[in-house]
């Protein structure tokens, strides 16, 4: 079955009418949104860190454990066959979600971080030599920096960094100039978790491919918020985490082009990733199983499939539209407040708003907003290089999801005003 024929293909869902986006019904699906924090209704604006789970996904996890669970891939009994079918069905849902050409190009991992480490170990350690160059950008999350530093330290390769403008956009001219005969790999984030900048990854991939260089896209902050088509992007690897798009923690995806994955060495060794084992010689399994050693997070993968179904039923395009409205409202209101500085003002942004209050440390802002029931994040957001580039120790970050409302944006702004009063 091709990806486009899948019942809940995100491509067809995105054509649904705007009326399908019923915010009240959506919020009713998320029980945690009824929580009170310090006696106030929770205003959850930390979605870049993790997203909340709707009841249908919670129910799917419970149903799996209640009626379907057994270990997968090797059993001959009914439950094992059922669990295997559900796990592989989840893989096909992720294939459709990404519009990958084949299901075997979707590998389940424990999240974006493991996905990137898998590429480093499986591809990087096999193919990168001393003096080779790896291009990263200033705004990468530590997960797309540290594995490459580890690889560089081990192999003697060099890391080159794409510079950034003060508004949080990448310097594309400088990017192109970084390529030379030693360039072997590019790692780039599709959306900055600290600044919300949306990078022109399709264009950057084309540039890299013109030089014969493969590209890994960190999609952790993109996949939950916009339609992603890996064939259209033509990326070589794409990584993201389940818990950032309403799925469980402990599960994520690495997409890789089949030929690349087949050329790679395994990451983790153990059961399932082999065809046969003997002390005289072991034969590795085909993809995707080559990279799924041991019992996988079966329940979590099935839960991720259910989360993808849930999002696709709403439609990623509708989600992007609503979040853009939230971003515009937040940017306008906060941008007008005296003493507030917006950090990250790229022309193309996802619904992430980093900001600073004059004379008030982000940590204090976060604590005092929490007193109002507002959950934001204060710190370097696992992106110390971009903070250093902007000469900031930390920022306050509000990050929106499709279940947030304009009223919650108003609450954030009121909260910020209240914080300013405390420090006046």
């Amino acid at each position: 079955m091709s990806a486009r024929q899948a019942d809940l293909s995100c491509t067809t869902a995105s054509n649904r009418s705007v009326e399908a986006f019923d915010l009240k019904r959506i919020r009713a699906d998320f029980p945690i949104l009824q929580t009170l924090v310090h006696g106030k209704p929770l205003v959850y604006l930390d979605n870049a860190a993790s997203s909340q789970m709707p009841q249908p996904v919670i129910d799917r996890l419970v149903h799996y454990q209640t009626s379907q669970h057994a270990n997968i891939h090797r059993g001959v009994h009914t439950l094992s066959e059922l669990a295997t079918a559900e796990y592989e069905a989840a893989r096909r849902k992720l294939q459709a979600f990404l519009n990958a050409a084949e299901a075997r190009e979707v590998i389940f991992t424990s999240g974006t971080t493991e996905s990137i480490n898998l590429v480093m170990h499986g591809w990087g350690r096999k193919f990168i030599r001393s003096g080779d160059e790896i291009i990263l950008t200033t705004m990468e999350h530590h997960a797309n920096i540290v594995p490459w530093q580890m690889l560089a330290a081990e192999t003697g390769a060099k890391i080159r960094v794409v510079p950034m403008l003060d508004n949080g956009e990448l310097c594309l001219d400088a990017y192109e100039k970084l390529f030379n005969a030693r360039t072997r790999f590019v790692g780039v984030t599709q959306v900055s978790n600290a600044l919300g900048s949306v990078n022109p990854v399709k264009q950057m991939i084309a540039t890299a491919h013109a030089h014969g260089v493969p590209v890994l896209v960190d999609g952790a902050q993109a996949a939950p918020h916009m339609p992603v088509d890996v064939q259209d992007l033509d990326c070589d690897f794409y990584a993201f985490s389940g818990h950032k798009l309403c799925g469980p923690t402990g599960i994520g995806v690495l997409y890789g082009k089949a030929a690349l994955l087949e050329s790679m060495q395994p990451f983790k060794g153990g059961g399932d990733m082999i065809l046969s084992v003997s002390f005289e010689g072991t034969v590795y399994n085909t993809i995707p199983h080559k990279f799924e050693a041991g019992t996988p997070p079966i329940a979590a993968a099935i839960g991720l499939g259910a989360a993808v179904d849930y999002l696709c039923a709403i439609g990623l395009a509708a989600i992007a539209r609503h979040e853009h409205e939230l971003l515009q409202h937040a940017t306008a209101l906060l941008g007008q407040l005296p003493g507030v500085r917006l950090v990250g003002t790229a022309r193309h942004k996802a619904a992430v708003l980093s900001f600073m209050l004059d004379g008030v440390h982000p940590h204090d802002v976060g604590t005092l907003l929490d007193e109002e029931g507002i959950a934001v994040r204060a710190g370097h957001h696992c992106a110390q290089p971009v903070m250093t580039r902007l000469k900031l120790p930390a920022t306050v970050r509000a990050s929106f999801a499709f279940y947030n409302t304009l009223a919650e944006v108003d609450a954030l702004v009121d909260g910020v005003r209240a914080v300013q009063k405390v420090f006046a």
């Binding site: 560089a152 007193e371 120790p393």
Partner: protein, 162 residues
Amino acid sequence: MSADTKALYQEVILDHNRKPRNFGPLEQASHRAEGHNPLCGDHLSVALGIEGQTIARIAFEGESCAICKASASMMTVAVKGQALPQAQSLIRDFLAMTTGKLDADAAPQIGRLAVFSGVRNLPTRVKCAILPWHTLQAAIDSQARVSTETGAEASPQRTDTP
């Protein structure tokens, strides 16, 4: 606002945040240490002029949140001019108070620092309040650098990219 947070962001602390005492560089320091909270970006350095067994001079610098800065400011006021054994005892008492192991009422030498007692109920902010005190201890012990993430002296492993 919950009682503990209200207590933390009261006038005394806000005052010390706005106008930190003994803030700035210290000429001819005899002891110095840096402290860092990587989780929130608090960063400060404490410099001492120890003469004999007394902390004759003390100053601190750095960028940090209100709780950290106020704690550092009040700390320098409290230990300036103190003999080393007294200062070390106060460090122990402050750390015990902020981690819930000591009641402020039971330690009269805590004095005005009792305003920080509520931080014991705000686990995410405890490290902010105690960072200056760990840094002071490190300066006294002549350790160059402390981090809230490794407790005592930090010797972080570097990736050393060529």
